[in-house]
């Protein structure tokens, strides 16, 4: 049994496997299928200052080896989270992390301030990259200046571990990562979904109500891996890698590329117990190759 512990900022994780925001609900939805306390961290659904109904149906399209979504950050708002959901999940013995979204700097700051008060939420993941919000989300994540501004503002009020989630819909992701690091992020996670589109040829109209949506699943893995490698080489803070991870091998690829931890998203829809299988698979790989700690393979890629 290898040592699977990793650290993101000052926060300790029992293993490097987390669930990706928007794909694992609040954890509860999966409690019949998987022992939640074995997972390194659970990143809950995107949370905003006010309630959001999200985009109209249809919000999903299956694509070769993946899917497009245009959920549009449907959630009941941060107050509802604090009152109704937090009490139900706060005693799950893992790192429960809230994914924070917003359409203005004030939104992000206010939401982060409220989450900061929750004792059992040790970190937030700042989503400056969701492609589904008409204003705000996308504009922050694609510009180093805007990304820096929002991270700086949140850093000034948020005292715990601050993870910033990056969008792949940019030319130079390393540049954004550096800007975010310089303004106080403890870690960056990437990638969020890639902007895509699907068309119904019989109806001759887009499948999604929003025309375009975010692509996820194994179809995006090579791009995600490349970006994680680029960012890991560009910053000193720990990188959390995600995008298309379906099994332990995919996860190990991200670790070798320089990710300190990984997240699993869309794969939960195919196999709701995939997270624990990936944890076991990483452990077996380390044991088989006589590594004492998972830290020994982080960034161990030889080029």
């Amino acid at each position: 049994m290898a040592d699977l512990n990793v650290n993101i900022g000052e926060l300790k994780f029992k293993n490097p496997v987390m669930t990706a925001s928007g794909t694992f609900g609040y954890g509860e939805e999966f409690s019949d299928f998987v022992d939640l306390e074995r997972i390194g961290g659970i990143i809950v659904k995107g949370t905003t200052i006010h309630k959001r109904e999200g985009n109209p149906y249809p919000r999903m399209a299956e694509t070769p080896s993946g899917m497009l979504n245009a959920v549009g950050l449907q959630n009941k708002g941060v107050d509802y989270f604090v009152k109704e959901i937090y009490p139900r999940i706060k005693n799950i013995n893992t790192n429960i992390i809230v994914n924070v979204s917003g359409s203005s700097i004030e939104d992000y700051v206010q939401t982060a301030e409220i989450i900061n008060e929750l004792v059992n939420i040790p970190a937030i993941e700042l989503n400056i990259s969701c492609p589904n919000v008409k204003q705000g989300g996308m504009t922050f994540g694609v510009s180093p200046v805007a990304s820096a501004k929002v991270v700086k503002a949140v850093r000034s009020v948020y005292k715990k571990t601050l993870i910033v989630k990056l969008t792949p819909n940019v030319t130079d992701v390393a540049e954004i990562a550096r800007a975010v690091e310089a303004n106080g992020a403890d870690s960056v996670s990437l990638i969020n979904t890639l902007l895509g589109m699907a068309i119904d040829v019989e109806k001759q109209c887009p499948v999604l109500s929003t025309i375009t949506g975010g692509l996820s699943g194994p179809a995006v893995k090579p791009i995600a891996l490349r970006m994680v490698w680029q960012v890991a080489n560009a910053v000193k803070i720990p990188v959390i890698g995600l995008g298309g991870i379906m099994n332990w091998k995919d996860a190990v690829e991200f670790l070798l590329a320089g990710a300190t931890a990984i997240q699993i998203g869309t794969a939960n829809f195919i196999d709701p117990s995939v997270t624990t299988k990936v944890i076991d698979g990483i452990n077996d790989y380390l044991d088989r190759r006589n590594y004492k700690s998972v830290k020994d393979i982080i960034g161990a890629l030889s080029v």
């Binding site: 928007g22 794909t23 694992f24 609900g25 939805e29 999966f30 019949d32 299928f33 659904k45 109904e53 999200g54 109209p56 149906y57 249809p58 919000r59 999903m60 399209a61 299956e62 694509t63 070769p64 080896s65 993946g66 899917m67 979504n69 959920v71 449907q74 699943g217 194994p218 869309t266 939960n268 829809f269 195919i270 196999d271 709701p272 117990s273």
Partner: protein, 271 residues
């Protein structure tokens, strides 16, 4: 005996399972329809009519997601679960070709299910169209078991699309409409003459949306309790991704979790 289903809260205690089931039978009922029967080494979990399963398709990259399929019937004696499947694309085609003895990975039971009557005197009417009749067999059996003998109106394009009529008639009176008059009365389910002869207390419906809207209109005009089962496109099937939402009086609700069965008063349909 029906008290089991009384409380809506009970749903929260209905554990979901991820199971590798074994195919015991896979037979064509009609040209594009199969009846897939599966068993498990352990006794199958508790399931309610109207609930569904998410079936894992291992075929190809274009069938990446699981496919939601209604629970058609549960045979406790043989420890079998049935799925009645309309072959419309690659995933359902793959399911239709599963050989006996092969394994199929399923998540079940998912969703809320129909709410069963609490008084034995209630006369339920079950209206289905196309493959939407699938969940009504299990519902009909459970209703007849608790003393609410069901009446079925089953609609199809033609006699080649009619499924399991003998199974249905085991649990209640079966009336059929076909659009081409090849079986039963010609026309749509809401035009069947039985509706002018008998008064029903509750209506359950599943089928194409225009049909369910017509049924909902009929139920509303007569002030009859009516539940419909929706088939929105799904990804996770467990209420996590929020892809399958229906706009309701309570905002966007997940069809996979808060549904697939909704009371028509909850929906925003123009009825």
């Amino acid at each position: 005996m029906h008290t089991k289903y009384k409380s809506k809260n009970l749903l929260f205690f209905m554990k979901k399972f991820i199971l590798d089931l074994i195919v015991t039978d896979n037979t064509f009922l009609q040209e594009n329809f199969v009846l897939l029967k599966l068993t498990s080494e352990l006794p199958l979990p508790e399931m309610k009519p109207g609930q569904f399963a998410e079936l894992r398709i291992d075929g190809s990259p274009t069938t990446f997601l699981r496919r939601p399929i209604s629970i058609n019937f549960v045979d406790r004696q043989r420890n079998e679960i049935w799925f009645s499947i309309h072959i419309i694309g690659e995933g359902t085609k793959w399911l239709s070709l599963l050989p006996i003895g092969s394994k199929l990975n399923v998540l079940l039971p998912l969703g809320n299910g129909f709410s069963l009557p609490e008084t034995p005197s209630d006369k339920p009417l079950l209206i289905g169209g196309g493959i939407g009749i699938a969940p009504l067999l299990f519902l009909g059996e459970q209703l007849s078991k608790q003393g609410n003998k069901p009446t079925f109106i089953l609609g199809a394009r033609g006699s080649n699309d009619l499924l399991q009529l003998e199974d249905f008639s085991r649990y209640g009176d079966v009336y059929v409409t076909t659009e081409d008059a090849s079986y039963g009365e010609k026309g749509f389910v809401t035009q069947h003459s039985i509706l002018n002869k008998v008064n029903f207390d509750r209506i359950y419906s599943c089928g194409p949306k225009p049909m369910m809207i017509a049924v909902a209109k009929y139920a509303k005009s007569k002030s009859i309790f009516c539940e419909v089962s929706l088939d929105n496109m799904m990804a996770c099937g467990v209420g996590a991704c929020l892809c399958c939402v229906e706009n309701t009086k309570d905002g966007h609700l997940c069809v996979c979790k808060e549904g697939p069965v909704f009371n028509i008063n909850q929906l925003l349909w123009q009825i």
